[in-house]
Amino acid sequence: MVVNFARREIMCKIVYYGPGLCGKTTNLQAIHLKVPENMRGNLTSVATKQDRTLFFDLLPLDIGKIKDFAVRLQLYTVPGQVYYNASRKIVLKGVDGVVFVADSQQGKMDENVESFKNLRENLRENGADPATIPLVLQYNKRDLAPVYEIEELNRGLNPHLNISYFESIANTGQGVFNTLKKITQMVVDDIKIKLEAADRAPAAKPVAAPTPAPAPVKPVAEPVAVAETPQPATVKTAAAEEPVTQEPEQATVRKGFWSRIAGWFKRTGK
């Protein structure tokens, strides 16, 4: 996350991760198709001639404001193939939230589990904590047959049901925006808490991302067009082995930082 006080911008990075051909790029293409042009940038792809992701895809989005600060998301994909791990690690640098796209087709469980394990290893190697980073699971290709039951996928990837998960058919766009909405909400909540924590923590800076408090969980309230799996009560953890109990939202947050920032901008005209 980068905070631009001068331009009043907060920039965040969300990475779509998963095994090869699971539908990460298709997710970004579906988002690119639907988002109004003035709210998104170009979809940039570094791909092979066969349209396999070589390095990453990138889609910038403007999603709204926190106080007076515009929040800009950058959605990235990684190359899924095993031998591109160095590229995946580079793309994961500075990540604020992860969507793990799993392939629902039978026979793909080992690839899903291996990729999920690789995600956690790469996060750790980049200095990020897989247990606290916002994470959402997307079970893609639900229209194909035969596919694993959702319970089977959860047994492999989400045994404690402590991570939000969504069913999707990315090539029709179904489930794509539910997933995006959830990870966005988690990242936005995380930002708010990090910034407020920076305000109250001694010697902390907003970009330095001090140890985050648990992010509040806000279930997606709007009705959805596709079948969505009910969300478990605790969702905010990447560590499938260790469920995390949520603390009351912003229980310890000191109020007033944003109004002081706004007042300062007003007074100084910056």
Partner: protein, 163 residues
Amino acid sequence: MLNMQDVERDIDNLHRVQMELQKIVSEAGALGAFLVDENGFLIAEEGGIEIDRVALSALVAASFGATAEIARLLGEADFTRMTHQGSTRNLFIGKAGSRHILIVTFGRETNLGLVKLYAEKASELIGFILDSDSVAEEPPSDKPPESKPGDLESGSLPSWMND
């Protein structure tokens, strides 16, 4: 604790960075100068070149990251400078401090030596300015954002996120 002095200092630092970028454009005759962070976020820019800045920042940061890995494979700590030569436009990429990357685009009206001279001097100064401070921001832009954002504070995400 984060306070108004921090914010003011950070904005002033970015204005100093902006001045260094201006020098590269005006004195070395570059088409544009950009500062991006190692994660691919655009921090500051100068010059009127028409280009997708978000994509440029992400691609250069990724390319620079890949180059650093190549350096490691060769037993080098780092490769700190890269140049790319095109038929009409060229690119200079250099490390600016520990966490930032300077990108300079230039055409036939100037030469690599002059660009390198100013860019390397600027890299050193920018690194000094930003490494002494852990906050990174972007200076004001003339371009107003085109979006009409909602208020995320109230928990409302854009309507286009609905399936």
